[in-house]
Structure formats: C-alpha cells, structure tokens
Amino acid sequence: MIERPPHPRHAPLLAIKNLVTAFHTPAGRIPAVDGVSLSIERGRTLGIVGESGCGKSVTAMSVLRLVASPGRIEAGEILFSSGGTTLDLATLPEPAMRSVRGGRIGMIFQEPMTSLNPVFTVGDQIAEAVLLHRRVSREAARARALEMLQLVRLADPRQRLDEYPHQLSGGMRQRVMIAMALACDPELVIADEPTTALDVTIQAQILELLSELRARLGTAIVLITHDLGVVAETCDDVAVMYAGRVVEQAPAAELFARPRHPYTIGLLAARPSPGMKHSGPLRTIPGMVPLPQHFPAGCRFHPRCAYARLPGAESGSGRAVPLPAGELPCNAAVPPLHEVAPGHLVRCFHAESLGPPRSAQEIAAGGLFP
C-alpha cells in the first residue's frame, strides 16, 4: 500500500469552478458538462467516475482545451497553479495553452492504438514531445525517451525505441503512452479510461505502474473511469458524475464506506462482486441514462431514483415515496451539492433522510437502505 500524502492547505493544483461545456448542434444546445466544480491537490489522485455520456471525458477535454467544435467552454474557470502562478485554462490564449498541454499537464487516452501515430517509431514520438517543450538536442531527447521507456518498465527498451506501435501489444502501447505523458515531468496527468481497452491482468500491471510512478514522481493524476473498483483501489478522492453534473464527491475511503447518493448506491448494488454468490436477480437502476437533449428538470436522476419524492400524481414509476409536507419535490429544483460529512458532498435533497449509510460491501452483499 502506498502512503497517501497528507491533505495540503495551500491552493490546489487544479481547481475547476462551475465549468459549462456545451455542444451547439443543429438539434440545439447540448450541455455535456453543466456546472462542474472539482479540485485536485498536488500529488493526489482524483477519480472521476460515471457512465457514458455523463460528461467525465468532456470535463477532461475541457481542462486540456481539446473540446472539438461545435463544443465550446461557455462558462467557468479552470485554475491551474503551477510554478507560483495561476493560469485560467478556460481562457488562456492557444499558444500559451500549447506549452501547458503535453508539458505541465500530460495526458493518457483510452485507445493506445489510435492515440499513437502508426508511421513514427515509439522513440521518435516520445522525443517529439520532449523537443516541443524543452530546449534540448535530438540526442538528449532520444536519451530521455529511452530513460522514460525504462521508467515504465517496458521490456527491451533499447530495441523498442526503434519499433512502431503496431509491433507492440496493447499493454506495451499503454506503457508507451504513459512514458510520453511523463516525459516532460508534468505536475498533472489526465488519464481517460487508461485501462478500459486492456485485459484485467494487464490492467493490474498498468494501475500498479501508475500508482508507483505517482508515489515516486509526485505527479497528480485525474483518472477517468467507469469502473468503481479501479477507483476504489487507486484513487484518493472520487467524484461521481451523472448527466453532466457531479452528484457525489468524497475521499475514496469515505465514499465507499458511506455512499450517500442514490445513484452511487444503485451502481454499487448493480454489480455482483466475485466470490459472493447472489440469490435472486441483481438489483437494477431502472430506465436508462438520459440524453443531454432530454435531461429531466430538477434532480436529473429522479426519474430513475428509487427514493425520489414526487407529488403523488406525477410519480409515474409507482415506486416514488410520497412527498412529506413542506419538502421540495425532486423534479422541482436542482439539489445543491452540499456537505453531509467533512469533505463529503452530495447532490440530493434527501441524502440525510435515507437512513443510516451502508458501506459499499454491505450494499454489494444485499443490504440496501431499509
């Protein structure tokens, strides 16, 4: 187990504040990210978890300013504190952004085959990143590339330097991606589903490598994934996203010991865990993830929520709990992201009244809220 660095008091390395990123299509404005606030401390790992279309990748792309047209950052700040200065990446001019991207912020994408250039050798591609950001000779850049391949423990690094991506396996390519992301000593690495395309035994190798490099180099990592297990095993902090918003955020240990948002609980309950024989059907979250064109009003999860409190006549599912007098129905207003325990934020009106919290393993074993 790696020693977690203590919670620092100074300015966070990256602070995203009320980010709104929308796509303007002929069908209308699609707010893929709708008011997301997150912060990452130096040397820590933040997991952003959610299903497809929840906005986790668009959040990452916004930080790197790689959102392609017709997408645009419409509001919010992305404050990156590096070397004593704070830059707002949301508005930073493109030439300055170029020195941040791949330099002080590294990136690792899901599909290493498509993110590596098939016509250049691995060594040339890593060296290119170094030459872009550092004033060094070609020889020095190549030496750095070799050093990076050794760092990520690629077998036969000297030989691999002159090989092309197609000659490597998926796990090896992902190691090359990590080498490239780390080549310029970034303070932050954004890894978007870095292990999703890999087999579990290779995933274990890559996660082990990332944790080890994080501990040795002090690089902060934003790890984007749909796998709660990956988050539980590798992250210090977790943000759960649903339909363009953060619905729950907490230190990882707290989140899995006391998950509070019905969506998080639903996700934990829907997964059988190995070695735990279940009787009866798996518990499901009914319905499906809404498309951004059709985000429901109020709490965006309420149509699928087992605990939604709605005015009697509108509870279509038949499972909705009747609304106690004086309480706001879930479809009327957007619940605020509020603190339910130190550092634990939940976007749900009723998080505190759902009963005593249960841990992730109790939920997986069959103990939902009463």
Binding site: Q150, E208, G229, L282, T284, M288, Q361
Partner: protein, 356 residues
Amino acid sequence: MTAPLVEVEQLQTYFPIRRGLLRRVVGNVQAVDGVSFSIARGKTLGLVGESGCGKTTVGRSILRLVEPTGGRVSFDGLAVRDLRGRDLRNLRRRMQVVFQDPYGSLNPRMTVRALIEEGLIIHGLCSARERVDRVVRAMERTGLSRQALERYPHEFSGGQRQRIAIARALVLEPDFLVLDEPISALDLSIQAQVVNLLIELREQLGLTYLFISHDLSVVEHVSDEVAVMYLGRIVEQATAAALYAQPLHPYTLALFSAVPTVDPARRRRRIVLVGDVPSPSNPPRGCRFHPRCPLAESVCREVDPPMVSLPEHAVHCHVAARELARSGGNASVAAATIATLLADRATPPAATLSPS
C-alpha cells in the same frame, strides 16, 4: 441428471497463416487447441479468459461459424461437424447467438421487425400472418414494446439494442444460446438489467447457455459451471461455487486477484503477472502458462500438465496436481497452499531508475 445438450471433445480450431505470392501456409494460429466440456440442458457454462485466449472461437466453432480443424461437437446427439445443407440449417435454428456489440450486429437499414423476422423467413417457419405475432411475442419477452416494430436500431440505446438482438435469437425458439460478451458494451446500470433478463429467459424457456465473458463477477452470477481458458486451452473448470471459493490454477488466482473491487475486505494481494500473453501461433512448450507463472518449475517448461479431476473441479497444472496429491484430494487445503505460494513469489520487482 439429464444428458448433456452440448458436448465438445478435443475441439481444435486453427487458422492458417499464409505468406508470400503463393499464399503458402507457413504456420497456424492455434486459437483453440484441445478443448472439451459438456453443458447439460437448462444449464449455463461460463467461459472466461482474456482477449485472444480462444473463448470466442470456441463459441463460433460450435455454431460452425468457423470450421473446426479437429475434435467432436455434438448437439442433442447430432454430430455437428458432419451436418450439411438442410440438416445444418435445421440445427442452426436451435442454436442461436447474441454478439457483444449491438451497434455492429444489427443492420442499421432494417427495421426492428425486419431484423427479428429475418430468421423466421429464412427457416420458413410460419406464414406471413403468424410472423408478426411471433415477432411481437419475442419482443415482449425481452421487454420491448410493440411500438418499436417499425423503428430503426439507431433510435434505441445500447441496452435496448441488445434486447433486440436477444429477441432476434429467441424468435426461432432455440434450445441453446451462445452469448458472446453480451453485456460488455453496455453501461454499468444497464448491464444488470440485461443479466436479469437473460436469467429470467433461461428459467422461463428452459434455455441452455454458453456464456462467454471476461467479466468474472457476472460469469459467476450467471453460470452453473465455469471454465477458464488460457491460450487456446481450458486450464481449470469447476462448478461456479467451487471455482470461486477454491481456485487451484495459478492463472485463475491471478485473474481473480486482478479484478479491482470496492470491498477492502475482499481485496486480495494482487498477483501481478509479468509480460503479455504469448502468441497463439507459437505457443510455449509444456504448460502454456509457464512463461508468466510465478510458480513455474522445470517440469512445467517441458511437460504439458495432465488434467487432475475431483468431483466438481478439474485443473491442468503440475503444482496443483502435487498439492492435491499432498492434501489427499482436499481442494480447499490445496487452494490455500497455492494462494500462499503465489503471494510469496509474486511481489513485483521494484523499479530501479529514477527520473531526471
């Protein structure tokens, strides 16, 4: 005890590697090399393993979507590999398949109705009038409403498309379904819905499944028996309960330990395997897992491990065989010893280089 519906014996499927102007065969990809199992009527066999281990090829070979190179496949007493023409077509009505990617497996130019009724037309099973009824019945079984009949696949989400693919298989009233990663392309909250549907259908219709997946927890939930494949071979096979409680093969243990879990109490010491899966065109001698196995001994490099069977459990491993012999065939004692051995040996090497 019912007679098995599907029996596979020493199944072999090789793909030739051709090179040069004359496309001469210079070698073989040994995708499946000597796989045997049987599935009783109404039961589910889970087939797990990593990409390239041959699990999909096993499914396709049974259906004769690829022609096996050797071995025997029998379905309800029929020798599948000998069937031709009409007999083969009749057999195929009884064995259906659901593929992983519901975006790729449904023709985007066909309506839901056309997609589902296609099989009925090909097999000439009923009149045009009856056809709609049967299509609607299959759709209702999978939770699709009648309104979907004239719509196109792009109008549906991944989970609903997979329901269309399942309805397409069910409309022919098959006995046996090959489910090839049926939930891997779906979102987490939708996976549970489809798993529940598959279990419900199996119970209502008495279906038999070959459930192919790399997702160990879902396989355990769905299957009665589970076989673990590595590089074209089954390395371990047991009832789901026995396999998950007492894994004997080092590869199975490594696979289980690699699955990230949210439960800190269940978090095993991760056994990180070094290296990648070798190429199936040139598999290693002896035990195919030996180059990556932390417990490999000299015998493993030379001799293909024989199968050791217990009631409800079979394993191909020299170390497991020895531990089983030592414990007098007690699987839980042997499994515990192997787990301890692995935990001692499998510490990953520390990196030696410091960054500049």
